[in-house]
Subunit: 363 residues, 2 copies
């Protein structure tokens, strides 16, 4: 008897949340209204009506919004613009694994700061700065962090931007999950605290669908021209057709409705996973209890043999991500990222059940 593989690996939205028909309707509308413009080559900065909407949300001007093919692409351009080989970059430990790859490729010397339950420790950062660290930027995910699920506290947000101001480095604030809060209260974005030093990245991949490939960055005036030029020199422009579809989807009020539906769907899945973890792991692991986003970060105690954990999980039809990939400077052998949005409650129950058996089998 063959049973389905359960993928506790990538943090992707569930296909049942995708708005097929609405995308068709938006395409029809924007091809009528903007067809000539959006099918042509265009300026790399992005489709103006969508930039205007994002600027309104971010309390800035449309000239500071750069839209691209997903926010990772924009981070890559930023790294190419700002990083010379050997330049230091601060990140959280753990952090988003693709960012580590991007920064390494640009030649960055990456320094990870251990995540506490409310974000990295600003005092530890300042000790590094006082000892001579001169990062080009800090890459931080303050809201529902990938992979840990933590939220940076208001105090730490203020402390971190104060360091950026004092020691003159940029902050890249990655915020793809910020609008997916299921409980609790929103905290100020780093961007709102120090707009002249913070690039805030986000995208519509988690809130509409990844396939449109529309991400954006709110960029300080000092950087925006150079970044837009870098984008133009790399790919001329990202698809205005897709950007116009996103704009029309928002204009119709569908994003607001869709977010409400997603929050309901995802918070149930989060609750299911937390209940399963409480049932199965209370004596041999600790984990975050996130108020939003896609991920729970779990630490297994005692540390298992990582090799056996991954291998036995695969044998039990359970795919896990190697936790070490989220740590730029080593560690992560006992870290398990648990994405809960892309799985049904039944898959979550089975997945955590299998994980229990696998971890138990390791002794």
């Amino acid at each position: 008897m063959q049973r389905a593989n359960i993928k506790l690996t990538r943090g992707v939205p569930p296909v049942e949340s995708f708005p097929n028909d609405q995308i068709v309707q938006c395409t029809k509308t924007v091809m009528t209204e903007y067809g000539t413009e959006i099918q042509q080559y265009n300026a790399s900065i992005g489709f103006k009506p969508l930039r205007q909407w994002i600027a309104g949300e971010s309390n800035t001007q449309p000239e500071q919004i750069l839209i691209g093919q997903g926010s990772l692409q924009l981070l890559d351009l930023s790294a190419q613009l700002l990083i010379q080989p050997g330049d230091q970059v601060f990140v959280e430990a753990p952090t988003y694994d693709r960012t580590i790859t991007t920064l390494r490729r640009a030649g960055a010397d990456i320094l990870g700061f251990a995540l506490e339950k409310d974000g990295p420790d600003p005092d530890e950062m300042e000790r590094a700065l006082k000892a001579g660290s001169r990062p080009k930027f800090a890459y931080l995910i303050p809201d529902f962090q990938n992979p840990s699920g933590t939220v940076m506290s208001a105090e730490k947000r203020e402390a971190v931007v104060a360091l950026a101001e004092k020691y003159n480095f940029w902050i890249f604030e990655d915020s793809p999950y910020r609008s997916l809060r299921y409980s609790g209260s929103e905290l100020p974005s780093l961007y709102s605290l120090l707009p002249e030093r913070v690039c805030q990245m986000s995208s519509f991949s988690k809130t509409i669908c990844p396939g449109l490939r529309v991400g954006y960055m709110v960029v300080p005036l000092e950087l925006v021209k150079a970044l837009a030029k870098m984008a133009e020199d790399t790919y001329i422009n990202s698809s205005y057709i897709n950007q116009a579809i996103v704009f029309d989807y928002i204009r119709r009020g569908w994003l607001e409705n869709h977010l409400a539906e997603l929050k309901q769907l995802y918070s149930q899945r989060l609750d299911t996973m937390l209940a399963c973890l409480d049932r199965h792991f209370s004596n041999r692991a600790t984990w975050t209890r996130p108020e939003g986003g896609f991920f729970i970060g779990m630490q297994l105690n005692p540390q298992p043999s990582l090799h056996l954990l991954l291998e036995n999980a695969a044998r039990a039809d359970l795919q896990l991500t190697d936790g070490r990939g989220f740590f730029a400077n080593g560690g992560g052998e006992n870290f398990v990222r648990l994405p809960f949005c892309g799985l049904t409650p039944e898959e979550i129950r089975q997945g955590i059940d299998r994980l229990d058996q696998v971890v138990s089998g390791l002794g």
Copy 2:
């Protein structure tokens, strides 16, 4: 009385050629047929049905087709993959200006070979190779070259790929205009002559519309995995929604029909521009008589004061591109790129008339 500016600058397709309604219909079809798949994150290599079609056209396998956000983006990834600062790259002189920018950014030492009326001189290339040049690759546009409009002869195609084989360098064959031939016979692509050493780039920007941002590269097996990984690390994947729209557009037979219409439209514009040049410039310039593509390349004799030429043209409501941008190693002061597809016959007549007056005014 204000008259309209005429832009003899960028080589963009005319907006009246864009297939608005068909894109809406294709979107509807592909969202029904592939909606779940194409809205999700996907493999960077590209939407398989479109890769299968391109592979059929290119007489290769779908695993060797990499689809991206326009072909410039794919060239940029290739440069990042292959070029170390100081590595040499051969190009034509003149060549596509954006490629010069991309290669320079990757740190390439660019060596341009003068274009003759049937392509660059392979003997000159071999002299450089014998003298010790070891290019990582040659970037060539054999069909209706941008900016000159020239076609590389069959003999030179064979000679150039023989050099690539003998001296062990890659060729990047940029072919966006190859399917836009208005007269004469097609010559073998460089890729068809030496598939194991040639990356052939093309896109649907000139044959459907730029706004979909769908380009592709036919890649030798030896490079394809590394390039796809580079793409994934940069932007995860390009939009499968857009790639599926292109696939459906082709499947319906619309690309074939559209190409026939475009050829008729563009060949009339080419004829108009050639007639205007014959009328106005026969004693003080030479120019190509291309059998396809977007551009006529013109050399003014005697060489004008470039500064005055551009300035007086702007005063006469005529925008010209600075010819020097197409030459990697200097020159181009008397080179004028004349794009003929994006202008109506009346705009072409007025544009060449104004150019006549501007050049005459320079004495």
